[in-house]
Amino acid sequence: MSLRLEGVSYRYAGSTATVLSGVDLVVERGEVVGLVGANEAGKTTLCLVAAGLAPATIGGRLVGTVHIDDLSTAVARPFELAQRCGTLFQNPATQLSGTAPTVWEEIAFGPRNLALPLAEVVARVEEAVRLLAIGDLVRRDPARLSGGQAQLIALAGVLALRPSYLILDEPTSQLDPQGTRLVGDALAALAAHANVGVLIVEHKTDLLAGLASRVAVIEAGRLVAGGPAADTLADERLPGWGVQPPAPVRLARAAAAAGVSLG
């Protein structure tokens, strides 16, 4: 069981520019795969395609195939995809339903869409709340949250769908260090205990170093490197691709350049 992109190229509707070309990527259930690259290299587009939102919802032209388990995104309907694959984009303000009066109801939005029994809706909301430690926010108005808080709530709303896969586009961009750690821990726990496959786009390579088993690098729409996280994140070409290596890698490199050892 896996989420697979095979020979994927994509261009947006009304545009002649190919944003992704020849992308092959597999995310197995139970593993966290990191995706890094410079801005406008195609990370968000890859997320859209992997989740099946492109081309199903926003149009455009897709070459190659995307499968979520045995379901091809070319033929699946959006709500079928949503149950298998939770997707979260960068701007938390647009990821919330905009009609829920409290955070609790915002998180319940997805499970309610699935018409689950009330007891099941409640159980899922409570689980997501516990996982992200947001119990003190449940009564708040979602429209009046800070960017970081909204980002956590949006993630909780996706987790409450209990998808087999998660596709997360910079889910910690507005979070403080504590919030970032929390999200990292929650994703690790989901992968390890709930067998969720996670594809995560991150500039924070330090987070990926501790979380991802594999990391892929995207540059101008192509995957230019990929493999075990420790290897890819130590790749000397990373800065050239617009990616900051994790702090331990940078320190070790600086020490080596100065001819000293960190012991």
Binding site: P101, A119, G135
Partner: protein
């Protein structure tokens, strides 16, 4: 949250989600509140010359007081009155064919009947808009949506209604942020009015652009949350309704029709 639940009973949403609004007006079913507002709006225009608007205004203020939304209503009055009052002035000075002109100043002919007509229109518009405002202020959007869903409205229709209503406060919030950003760039919002007027575009454009660029992202986010699943959604809470209220709504519906008949056939038109 889960700890104090007796074992065995199925989990239910927390109290702050379940709790129904209390109080004579707030606890009315959203559909009842909407119908009351509709009857009030109609009465403000169709009943008599002064009777309708005056009665409706009194009724609206009373229900606002009961619902505890008087302070927020005051804000709406402050915004509405100047606009509506300008209609009164225009009518006062330019009422065509008035025979009781007070004094003639060139094209301007202020007349008693003009001012009376203007005042009437003002009262009617004010009564009608406040009736709608009270219904809006005293109904949680989500309650209205739950109720619509329960009555078999499709989820898309419900969502469109909900997001349309929520657009108002959200736009206000966003506009406040934009005003801050542009003031920090030297846009004068505290100075003379003609300097302030120049600032309309930099203030309005991000509201519009922002809303437009967000539509696609929002659509995708809804899809990603299984919004297009066919069939009804899970109901979180059933809103209070009662047989008297249900009967009351039939009476209100009848009143809507009766007022039109009464106006056309005469009895309501002859009231003062």
């Amino acid at each position: 949250m889960t700890a104090d639940r007796p074992t065995g009973s199925p989990p239910s949403p927390p109290d702050f989600v379940l709790q129904a609004p209390s109080g004579a007006y707030l606890s009315l079913n959203p559909a009842t509140k909407l119908l009351v507002a509709a009857v009030e709006v109609e009465a403000a225009f169709l009943v008599g010359t002064w009777t309708g608007p005056v009665l409706v205004l009194l009724l609206v203020l009373a229900s606002a007081a009961i619902a505890g939304v008087l302070p927020r209503l005051a804000v709406i009055v402050a915004v509405t009155v100047p606009i509506v009052a300008s209609i009164m002035l225009i009518n006062g000075f330019l009422y065509p064919g008035a025979v009781d002109v007070i004094v003639r100043i060139g094209p301007l002919a202020p007349s008693v009947s003009g001012f009376q007509f203007g005042l009437q229109i003002t009262l009617r518009l004010l009564a009608a808009s406040l009736a709608l405002a009270v219904a809006y202020l005293a109904t949680r959007t989500d309650d209205l949506l739950s109720d619509l869903e329960r009555r078999g409205f499709g989820r898309r229709a419900t969502y469109v209604i909900g997001s349309a209503i929520e657009t108002v406060p959200r736009t206000v919030d966003r506009a406040a942020e934009i005003v801050d950003a542009q003031r920090s760039r030297g846009l004068d919002t505290e100075g003379r009015w003609w300097r302030r007027a120049r600032g309309i575009v930099p203030l309005a454009a991000p509201v519009v652009f922002g809303a437009l660029t967000e539509v696609e992202e929002r659509t995708m986010a809804l899809e990603a949350r299984a919004f297009s699943t066919p069939g009804p959604r899970t109901v979180l809470r059933v809103l209070p309704d009662s047989t008297p209220q249900r009967l009351g709504r039939y009476v209100l519906l009848l009143a809507l029709v009766a007022m039109i008949v009464g106006r056309i056939t005469g009895p309501l038109a002859v009231l003062p």
